[in-house]
Every structure is written in C-alpha cells, then in structure tokens.
Amino acid sequence: MTSRPYVTPIPILGAQREAILERWIAEQKREGIARPDLLSDADLARECSEFMSALFAGLNSDSMDPTGSRWEQMRASLRGITLSRGRLGFGPSETMRFVLTLKEPLFSSLDELEPTQHVQAVLEINRLIDRLGLMTSEIYQQGREEIIQRQQQEMLELSTPVVKLWDGILALPLIGTLDSERTQVVMETLLQAIVETGSTIAIIDITGVPTVDTKVAQHLIQTVSAARLMGADCLISGIRPQIAQTIIHLGITLPDVVTKATLADAFITALSRIGQHVVAKRTDHER
C-alpha cells in the first residue's frame, strides 16, 4: 500500500492525546487484560505512552500504512512491547487485545466530526489498528518460534553424550525420539569420539528411546554401518520387550548387529571382545 490522502484529523487526536491515553488504560483494566499480577501500573502506563508517541509519530507522517518507512518507530516499539509481554507470560490474545482496545478511545475522540467524515475516519483508524494488531500477533508468534528453535538446538546438544566406559569401549545412551536431524548429530558425535579415543567398540543404548519404527531402525543401521566402516563394532543394548515385539511386527531386521537386553550385558560382551573380563574380588578366607 502506498501513501494515500486520508481524512482523519490528526490535530484533533493530538489535542486529546492525554485523554485517549487515560481512557485506553482504563479500557484495558475494564477488559481485564491489564494483568496487574504481571505488569505494574507504572510499567503499563509507560508502555502505553511509549506506544502512543510511536503511534503519533506515525500519524504525523503523511501515510496510514504501518508497514511503510515512516512507521519505523511504531514497529520497533510494537516489537519491544510484544516480546517483553511474551516473556512476562501474557497470552497471545491478551497481547493482541492490548492493541485493539485502543480503538474505542480513538473513535470516541472523533465524536465532534461531521457524520460522513466521521465514518471515513473511523474506517481508517479501524484499518490501521487492525493491521497493528495483526503485526503484534505475528511478532508474538515469531518470538515463540525463536524460543522453540533455541530449545531444539539446546536439546540436540544436550542429548548426545558419548561416554567412555573402558579403554577402547564407548557408550552412547540415546534418550528421546530419533529423527533424521538427531541421527546426523548422534552419528557425527559418535564417529568423532571413535577417532579421538581410538575405540574399537561402541555400545548404543536405546533404553531411553520411546518407540522404534522403521525410520528409527533405519537410522540406527546407518549409524552402525558408518561406525563399522571406520573399523569400530557397534552393539545395541537396552531393547525393551515391547520394542522387540514392535520391531518384529514391523518386519525390521537388524542384520549383522549384535543386540543385548541391557547395557551391562553389552559391556560384558564388549570387554570379552577386547580380551578383558571381570572377576569378583577374592575375600581373605578364600586365599
């Protein structure tokens, strides 16, 4: 949308700016979206007046298009307010209604206008505030998505520890569902650890993997194959009875992979492969 002539009398609004601000805050409190438990009255007033200055900065330009370059301040202010409200725990509709409640105070300040002009001005303001409201909800959504993405990244990093059990034996306890992206990270971490420690045996423990479907099995096989190519053998442990049943029902075969019920069993097998074994300590009277 480009700039267009509009009829809304900015000076009339400007003259009533303080009154509008007051009515707006009152409106928010009446609607129950002020949330004094999250935001103090002083902070609310500060946010509202910041919003109003940005709004008037936009209105005083010759455009009613909030995506235009003249509305930079408005957008920045909207972004700051929305994100801070998101962090404080305001819901999406509360945040959006924060903007929409400004409509009525603005409309009522136009009461002196002539009917035709009044309708026109109300329509214009309505459109403007609606678009600002939509922008708010978009920003709110973006804020949430950023948080989700960051958490996903953190989960990826947290969930792939490679543990050294013995000289030449690594363990990889997997927790959570294995998707393609995680498999990639798991594979990379495991292969890197194999090179760094010079281990010949890796135990992949899937006790923490809730379900195994064809895709997860495929990913496991890929990891095992890659480790084998590098010269390390993989054992899979921690297969629960239900999962074993699922695997059989799905017709998945894990060819050439040694599987064990528990990590302990897998560890004993791994030890015997590298020519070690565990013996009980002899007590004094046995000597």
Binding site: Q192, G198, Q222, A226, L229, G231
Partner: protein, 119 residues
C-alpha cells in the same frame, strides 16, 4: 601418471591412498594391486584411506571393487582409518561395503591381522 605406492610389510601389502585421488590413479591402483597380490602371494591388503577427506561414489565403488578382486585372488582387503565424514557419506550413498573388513588405524589392523594368523 601418478601411482599409489604399494608397500610390502612382512606378509601384508599396504597401499596409502593420497588425499586428492584422481579416478585414473584409482584405476591404476586396482591394476597394480592385482599384480602385486599375485607376485607377493600376500593374503592381506591394507588400504589406508586416513588421508581421504572427501569421497564420491566412484571411490566408494572402487574400494568395493578392490575388495572383490582381492577375494578372487584369495587375499583379503582391510580398509583402514576411514574419516567420520567419509563414513557418513558412504552410508548416505548406500555403500556400506558389506564383507570388507575395517580397522581404526594401521596399528589396529596389524594387531587384528596378527591375531587372525595365530589362530
């Protein structure tokens, strides 16, 4: 034309693949290895690919081919020192080199070969 040197260590042959191996060099290696296996009557060939950082389907297939060829000549190929990135690429390409033995490094490979020869 560049050729990959093939070294004889005791009863084994060792070929070290250079980092930037050309297809023609790979083909020449295949020919040379066949000749050397027959001439030296080696039973085990170590192919050290630890310098290889990037692998394509051609090199992947070549490793499989060398192994198959060696088996026909009654020798075994052991692929040594594959890098993580290379292993992942080969798995993605579906070249899991079934039947080819692997080892982490030459030392581990020789240890494995020694155990095998004594049992």
């Amino acid at each position: 034309m560049d050729r990959v040197p093939i070294i004889k260590i005791g009863k084994y042959l060792l070929a070290t693949i250079p980092p930037d191996v050309q297809d023609s060099v790979a083909i020449a290696l295949q020919e040379d290895l066949g000749t050397r296996i027959v001439a030296s009557r080696a039973r085990l060939v170590l192919v050290d690919i630890s310098a290889l950082q990037i692998v394509d389907s051609f090199i992947g297939r070549m490793i499989g081919d060398i192994s198959g060829m060696a088996r026909l000549l009654d020798a075994e190929v052991m692929v040594v020192g594959m890098q993580p990135a290379v292993a992942m690429t080969l798995v993605e390409l579906g070249l899991t080199l079934t039947g080819v033995r692997t080892a982490l490094n030459v030392e581990a490979a020789l240890a494995m070969a020694g155990i095998r020869d004594h049992t």
